[in-house]
C-alpha cells in the first residue's frame, strides 16, 4: 500500500508566521495600451486579419444588440434583458481562443461568446420572444440561450451551478478521449457560492481540462466587489486549489485572447483546470430590472467608459491597417436594421404548442402528465379567450 505524506511539501518555522494579503503579487496581463498600441514589453498574440476582424465585429454587433434589446424591453416588447456593455472583450476574446468542439457553459452575460460561435440575430430573437423556433422551447426568461449544435449549454439562472458541472463535463470529454475543453464563465459574485468551491476543488483533484473564466466586473447587482470578498480578487483563490491561474485585463481583447489560448493549451496538455480572472466593469445596469444610480456614481462609470474595449481594439486594428471605418459603420447600420426586422419577425411567431408544456419533463410523457395535458386542453377549449396564445391551435 502506498504511503501517504500530507506534509511532504511543508517546511517548518519556529516563529509564528502569519500568512496574509499582499504576500503574493497577482499582476494583470495587459497587451494593448489604452491607446490601442501594443505595450513594448508585450507580444501581441498571433491573429490573422480575418479572425481579428471577426472578433471586432462580434463585439460591435453585441454592443448594438444590447442597445436595441434594452430599448425593446423599455417598449414592452420583451419582458427582460441583460446587457454586457463594456464587457464584450471578455466574452469575445475568450471564445475566439477556443475550438468549436469546446463546450461553453456561460453565466448569462456572455452573449459575445455565443455570437462568436455563430448564433444569428434570428436565433437570439427566437429565444427572447419564447417562440416556437427557440430550440429551448420558450421555457425560460429572455437571454437564457442554449444551442446544442454550437456546443453552448443552455443557461440556467441559479448562479454558480454550472461551475461543478463544467468540471464534470470536462472530465467526460477527457474520458471520451476528446481533444476539447470546457470553458465556464461566471461573475465574481457567483464565485461566492459553495458550488464555486466544490467545482474548482474537484476539477483540480480530478484533473479536469476546464477553463474557469471569472468576469470580475466589480458588482453583483448592487453589491460591490469589496462587500463580496476580502482577498485579492478571485485569482488569489486559484493558489488555494492548486490551480494555475492567470489574471487578465478584461477590457483588452488581445490579452484575453492570449490568456485563454494559453489556458486551453495547458488544460489539454496537462489535463488540469486553469482559472482566469478578467478584470472588467459592468457598465450596463445589472439588467433591465435594475437602476444602478442607486448604488454607484456617474464618475465611477465614466472612468470605465474611457476604457472601452471596442475602441481599444479599433485603434489596434487601425494601427495594423485592418480597420475599415466605412465597413464598420455599414455593419452597425445593418445590425440595427437586422435586429429591428428580427424583432418584428420573432414576435409574430407563435409560442410553442400546448403539448410542450408537458414535453421534456421526462424523456417520455408519463401517465399523470398525459392526464394533466388532456384536462388542460379541454379546459382551454372551454375558455379560449382566456388562453389566446394556445387556444387557436388546439384540436
Amino acid at each position: 500500500m502506498q504511503d501517504r505524506n500530507h506534509l511532504a511539501r511543508v517546511s517548518t518555522t519556529h516563529k509564528v508566521h502569519v500568512i496574509e494579503n499582499g504576500l503574493i503579487d497577482i499582476p494583470m496581463l495587459q497587451i494593448l495600451q489604452p491607446d490601442g498600441s501594443v505595450h513594448k514589453e508585450a507580444v501581441a498574440p498571433e491573429l490573422d486579419q480575418d479572425t481579428a476582424t471577426k472578433m471586432y465585429n462580434t463585439m460591435a454587433y453585441i454592443r448594438v444588440l444590447d442597445e436595441r434589446m434594452v430599448a425593446a424591453q423599455r417598449q414592452g416588447r420583451i419582458s427582460f434583458y441583460l446587457a454586457s456593455t463594456g464587457e464584450e472583450a471578455a466574452a469575445v476574446g475568450s471564445a475566439a481562443a477556443l475550438s468549436d468542439d469546446d463546450m461553453i457553459m456561460s453565466q448569462y452575460r456572455e452573449q459575445g461568446a455565443l455570437a462568436y460561435r455563430g448564433y444569428t440575430t434570428e436565433q437570439f430573437m427566437n429565444q427572447m420572444f419564447s417562440n416556437e423556433k427557440d430550440p429551448n422551447k420558450g421555457r425560460q426568461m429572455p437571454i437564457h440561450y442554449g444551442d446544442k449544435p454550437l456546443n453552448f449549454m443552455t443557461i440556467s439562472s441559479p448562479l454558480g451551478t454550472q461551475i461543478p458541472q463544467a468540471s464534470g463535463y470536462a472530465y467526460g470529454q477527457k474520458m471520451a478521449g476528446k481533444d476539447a475543453v470546457t470553458i465556464c464563465y461566471f461573475g465574481e459574485g457567483a464565485a461566492s457560492e459553495g458550488d464555486f468551491h466544490a467545482g474548482l476543488n474537484m476539477a483540480a483533484v480530478l484533473n479536469c481540462p476546464a477553463i474557469f473564466f471569472c468576469r470580475n466586473n466589480g458588482y453583483a447587482i448592487s453589491t460591490p466587489a469589496d462587500e463580496q470578498f476580502a482577498g485579492d480578487g478571485i485569482a488569489s483563490r486559484g493558489l488555494g486549489y492548486g490551480i494555475k491561474t492567470i489574471r487578465v485585463d478584461g477590457n483588452d481583447i488581445l490579452a484575453v485572447y492570449a490568456a485563454t489560448k494559453l489556458a486551453r493549451e495547458i488544460a489539454l496538455k496537462d489535463e488540469c483546470p486553469v482559472l482566469i480572472e478578467a478584470m472588467t466593469y459592468r457598465l450596463a445596469a445589472h439588467s433591465t430590472s435594475d437602476d444602478p444610480t442607486g448604488y454607484r456614481s456617474r464618475e465611477e462609470e465614466d472612468k470605465w467608459r474611457a476604457k472601452d474595449p471596442i475602441q481599444r481594439m479599433e485603434k489596434w486594428l487601425e494601427s495594423k491597417g485592418w480597420f475599415d471605418e466605412k465597413a464598420a459603420q455599414k455593419l452597425l447600420d445593418k445590425t440595427r436594421q437586422d435586429v429591428l426586422a428580427a424583432v418584428k419577425q420573432a414576435e409574430k411567431i407563435d409560442v410553442p404548442p400546448i403539448e410542450d408544456i408537458v414535453n421534456d419533463v421526462y424523456s417520455e410523457v408519463p401517465w399523470h402528465l398525459k392526464d394533466q395535458l388532456e384536462q388542460l386542453k379541454s379546459h382551454i377549449r372551454q375558455y379560449p379567450d382566456v388562453y389566446p396564445k394556445t387556444s387557436g391551435r388546439i384540436k
Partner: protein, 325 residues
C-alpha cells in the same frame, strides 16, 4: 392607519421591530444600501447602520449558515433569500440545521429567533427560476414554521409575530402582490397569530382553501360560483406549518366539500397533506372527493405561464365538478 402596499408593510414591520430590539439584524444579497432588489429593506441600513443591515456575499447556504449561528448566539436575524427559487442551496442549513438545532441539543441551543424572508410565486413572467412556490419542500420538515401573508395588513402582523416567535420561521412573500395594490395598515405595532387559519369569507356549499396570492384567485372563483347560486367558504391557511387542521375540518364538516388551490406542482404539494388529513378527519362528512387545483407537475414554464396557473377559471370548473359529483 396608512395606505401601504405589501412591500411597504414588510418594510414597516422591519422598522418597527428594529427600533424596539437592538438584537434584530437584517441581511442578505443586496439588502444593504440598495434596500434589496424589491426594496423591502429600503432605508434600514441608513437608519440602523451597516452593522444591523448589510449585504452578504452571494451565497444562500452561507446566509442561512451565518443566520443559524447568529440566532443560536441570541441575536435576532432576519435573513433574506432574494428569490424563493434560490433557497435550495440553503436547504441543508435549513432542514438539517435550523430545524433540528433545538431538538438535537435537548433545548440547550436553538435557532428560535431566526426568520427567513423570501419572495415566492409566479405570474410575473419569471419562468423556471423566478416563479417557484417551494413551501411543500419545507412542510415535510418538523421544527420549522412556514407563514404566508395574503395582503399588506396580514404581512405586517404576521411578520412581526414571526420575528418574535421563538421558533425559526420561513416567511414567504407572494411577490406578485408586492406592488399590486395598497390597503390600510396600522402604523402601530400589532401581531397576527401563527398557526391559525383565517376565514376570509363564510359560505355553506364548499370550502375553498389556499394561501398567499391564490386567495385572490379563490375569491374570483367564488364570485363566479355565486352567480350559479353556490356559496363558498374561503379559508386562508396563513400558516403552512404547523397548520390549522381544526379550522379547516370544522369548515368541511359544515360544507361537506373541500377544494385546495396552490401554485406549486400538484404531486407532493401541500394540498396533498391537507387532503390526506381532512379525508381522515371528515370522512363521514365528505360529499365528494377533495379537489386539488394546482400547478402542473412540470417545471414552471414561461411561454405557457397562463396555461400553467391554477387560475379562477380552473378553480371555478373544479367547484362545479365537486358540487356535481
Amino acid at each position: 392607519m396608512a395606505k401601504m402596499n405589501l412591500l411597504q408593510a414588510i418594510n414597516n414591520a422591519l422598522i418597527t421591530v428594529m427600533e424596539q430590539d437592538e438584537r434584530v439584524m437584517v441581511f442578505g444579497e443586496d439588502v444593504g444600501h440598495f434596500g434589496g432588489v424589491f426594496r423591502a429593506t429600503s432605508n434600514l441600513q441608513q437608519q440602523f447602520g451597516k452593522g444591523r443591515c448589510f449585504n452578504t456575499p452571494l451565497t444562500e447556504q452561507g446566509i442561512i449558515g451565518f443566520a443559524n449561528g447568529l440566532a443560536s448566539q441570541g441575536s435576532v436575524p432576519v435573513a433574506e433569500i432574494q428569490f424563493g427559487d434560490y433557497i435550495f442551496p440553503a436547504f441543508d442549513q435549513i432542514v438539517n440545521e435550523t430545524a433540528k438545532f433545538r431538538y438535537r441539543s435537548g433545548g440547550q441551543f436553538s435557532c428560535g429567533t431566526l426568520t427567513i424572508r423570501t419572495p415566492y410565486g409566479g405570474g410575473i413572467a419569471g419562468g423556471l427560476y423566478h416563479s417557484q412556490s417551494p413551501e411543500a419542500f419545507f412542510a415535510h420538515c418538523p421544527g420549522l414554521k412556514i407563514v404566508v401573508p395574503r395582503n399588506p395588513y396580514q404581512a405586517k402582523g404576521l411578520l412581526l409575530a414571526s420575528i418574535r416567535d421563538d421558533n425559526p420561521v420561513l416567511f414567504m412573500e407572494p411577490k406578485r402582490l408586492y406592488r399590486a395594490s395598497v390597503s390600510d395598515v396600522p402604523e402601530e405595532d400589532y401581531e397576527l397569530p401563527l398557526g391559525k387559519a383565517d376565514i376570509v369569507q363564510e359560505g355553506k356549499d364548499i370550502t375553498l382553501l389556499g394561501w398567499g396570492a391564490q386567495i385572490e384567485i379563490l375569491q374570483k372563483a367564488a364570485e363566479m360560483a355565486l352567480e350559479d347560486g353556490v356559496s363558498c367558504e374561503i379559508i386562508d391557511l396563513r400558516s403552512i406549518l404547523p397548520w390549522d387542521a381544526e379550522t379547516v375540518a370544522e369548515s368541511v364538516m359544515k360544507t361537506g366539500r373541500l377544494l385546495i388551490n396552490h401554485e406549486a406542482p400538484q404531486t407532493g404539494g401541500f394540498a396533498s397533506e391537507i387532503a390526506a388529513t381532512i379525508q381522515e378527519k371528515c370522512f363521514l362528512y365528505l360529499e365528494s372527493p377533495i379537489a386539488r387545483v394546482c400547478g402542473l407537475d412540470t417545471p414552471y414554464p414561461l411561454a405557457h405561464e397562463k396555461e400553467y396557473m391554477p387560475d379562477q377559471y380552473k378553480t371555478y370548473e373544479a367547484i362545479k365538478r365537486t358540487l356535481k359529483y
